[in-house]
Symmetry: C2
Subunit: 252 residues, 2 copies
Amino acid sequence: MGIITAINTEPASTHRYLNSDRQNNDIRQFGVAGLMATAHSCTYMRDIASSRNLTAGETLFWEDDPIQYTYLIIDGSMKAYKLLPNGRSQITRFITTGEIISSPLIDNYSYSTEALGDCTILQLPQKRFDKIMAKDPALMKSIFGKLSIELQRTQKQILLLGRMPAIERVSNFLLDIAQRQNPQTAHFESDMLITLPMARADIADYLGLTIETVSRAFSKFRRDGLIDLPRPNLVRLRDQTRLRAQSHSLTG
Amino acid sequence: MGIITAINTEPASTHRYLNSDRQNNDIRQFGVAGLMATAHSCTYMRDIASSRNLTAGETLFWEDDPIQYTYLIIDGSMKAYKLLPNGRSQITRFITTGEIISSPLIDNYSYSTEALGDCTILQLPQKRFDKIMAKDPALMKSIFGKLSIELQRTQKQILLLGRMPAIERVSNFLLDIAQRQNPQTAHFESDMLITLPMARADIADYLGLTIETVSRAFSKFRRDGLIDLPRPNLVRLRDQTRLRAQSHSLTG
DNA sequence: CGCGGCATTGATCCCGGTCAAAGGTCGTGG
DNA sequence: CCACGACCTTTGACCGGGATCAATGCCGCG
């Protein structure tokens, strides 16, 4: 089964934020999301999970919709965004393979989500997931940790939006994507190639800029020899050090 | 004892975000923060908590400091902020009486905090608090809920910083403060008086603007008859409806 | 080959930042 | 109680970064 495969075959990832002062005997790694759960929780989740495909541009849910599922992205990328009455939109988060969409203890989504390209996702009914969590402190702690991390990330985003000029926002964005696509080698790789799953308009909506300003920033980086742009959404980082220097590094 | 008083005498507040499908027999309301905990947790917290006074401008902790305590503000207001190498600062949150400062499962603070005026706070050693939480799912759930709410708030702040012009930011700020200072009557009160515990510089750092722009927005609201400014940090909302109309209401 | 959608580039405009000065407010000391 | 001074706020004049408007380029697909 695709679902079970998705849950079971992924290698263990590290969990810096988890205190590991509890017995490991009936604890298993749970899927790409890097969640910790008891064996019992795992089998139960396997039973209630179902997979689903999304095509490019498809909306998964809208802001204010009642929360029905916790989602795990198996493949592809999505955007989470908020809309203003005047039609302007602000992307709060890009969500990629291996990440979860979960808002426990909340009744309605606080943002809409849309697939950037074709996606495969796994969905777990929220109420049942809540019950599993209630009986599995390790799982709850795990989700808890993800929430904390997400909160820290949004705080960085607030600093970026409130106090950084366009050039710094874009360089931070590139370095951030680079790190997410290549966590191990990001700092050392001198000529790293990254793929942007989103269009310029999405980058602009994420950074609080316009398409034109984002494009101009990319062009400036190309002129200055910091990046190559073989295609609009293929970026080669040619001088990561210099890029980081002018980003005021939000990325540690 | 001041501490115990602070924990025990406050009236119960509502908890929209809490499922109340568990037995209420040994559950007690816990202090102004509106946390739920077992009686046992309460007495234990009472024992390990200590109170502390801060004078205006005093720093409680710096960004990147190791996390030592969970704090509860008994009286006064604080700001949480991040700094950039070039000296610019961005306030991510204002924290007032009855609110908590807690970053569970994280090793270091992701922001600095400073008292806006004189403050009284309650502090609970983080490690002991973690242990209490591990044994008290209701308390954990409660903190969990607060974290979720805070995440939603930061997402609104991202929308504000990324996509709103100065006037809308300031009107949203005023309406937000109004609602926090007077949750019950905020919508009906026609001539509501609010006290700003922070200076213009702090408002500017919170809204991603400059002191001058904030001041100009206040003056414009005064000219347009939306507010009175008996003193720099005393605001009377004279036409909340019209204020809300031009805020693109982030405040429901 | 031509069309449609996205990205780039250029020209101009305007909101909000910067710089500078004047006005208020409050605490302190005479 | 008033006078002084430090600091905060307000107001004005000007400037610049990024938005807006518009044209051109690029690429995939029918």
